[in-house]
Amino acid sequence: MARTTYFGRIARGAKGAAADAVLSPPKLLFRPPPRLPFAAGDLGHDLIGDDAANQRPSPGVDRKVASRREEHPFTEQQSSAGDAVEPSRRSIGAGRERRPSRDFDSQFSATQTRRPEKTLDTPSSAGAAMRVRGTEASDRRLESVARPDLPHLDAPGQERATKPAVPQTAAQTHATEALEPARPSSTRRAQLTSAYRPDAASTTGGGLQIGSMEIRIVSPPAPPPVKTANAMKRETPRPTSAASRLSRGFGTFGLIQG
């Protein structure tokens, strides 16, 4: 059980074999044997100055601890009980591992005061609160793998946030526009384009399409002017020969030839 520590060997080696007889025997440090948690007994109890506070709790506490380890629905209490139990396993000093047991007693007494709330006689809100605590604890475990900076975004918002701000290729840009719904401005622009382009009538859908309708009403031709006597005289060709001229000029009025 007792071992010579490394420091003792160094001291003896440094001083030499001659000094070995003069020096006092190496100081021995005692290490307690590995201790089993709680129910292991009182090993190491005598090696360290013990006081009344380090007295081992009654075996009933161990039974309570064992029973409480089986109560997993109490997440908070399980974690606190684990804090009380686990350091005693890791601790080397025999005295320190006793001290959490006293805290453990107080915690366990608190557990006992809470325990009746879990029964069916209590209102359902108490059980619901316990279930909520358990759900929150499980959610905390899930949040550790999620992004902490974006905890409240929904799925589209998460995708938009993780998407690069500037698309890298033109194909990616067109693909994004194709997936998004058409905006009202683009729809209005298409209507204006078809309205101001006569040749775009055939591309705007079904039905009867008329690009340009031109209606021209012409005035009726002017009626022929009414011919008067003076006009008929003016339009009468003048005779060219002298005989005819004489006949016309004088024959009418009675030319006497004789």
Binding site: A201, Q209, G211, E214, I217, S219
Partner: protein, 75 residues
């Protein structure tokens, strides 16, 4: 039926009166039956000789009849 552009030239009629006649013509065309459901006519031209003795409604009726006649010939 969709008309992208309507041009109306009536001599001796003011612009306001011509606008009224245009709207009346459109209403008459919309109410007219027997038009082809599907068709595409880039340009439709109607030339009529005005009758000084007829009323504007009669003029519009003549225009509608001529337009219908041309639209029925649309393939």
């Amino acid at each position: 039926m969709r008309i992208d552009r309507l041009s109306l030239q009536i001599p001796g009629v003011s612009e306001a009166k011509g606008r009224e006649l245009g709207l009346l013509l459109v209403d008459k065309l919309a109410a007219a039956g027997g038009l082809p459901a599907i068709g595409d006519m880039p340009r439709l031209r109607v030339d009529l000789i005005a009758d000084p003795l007829s009323s504007p409604d009669q003029l519009i009726e003549r225009i509608v009849a001529e337009v219908m006649a041309q639209l029925r010939r649309v393939p």
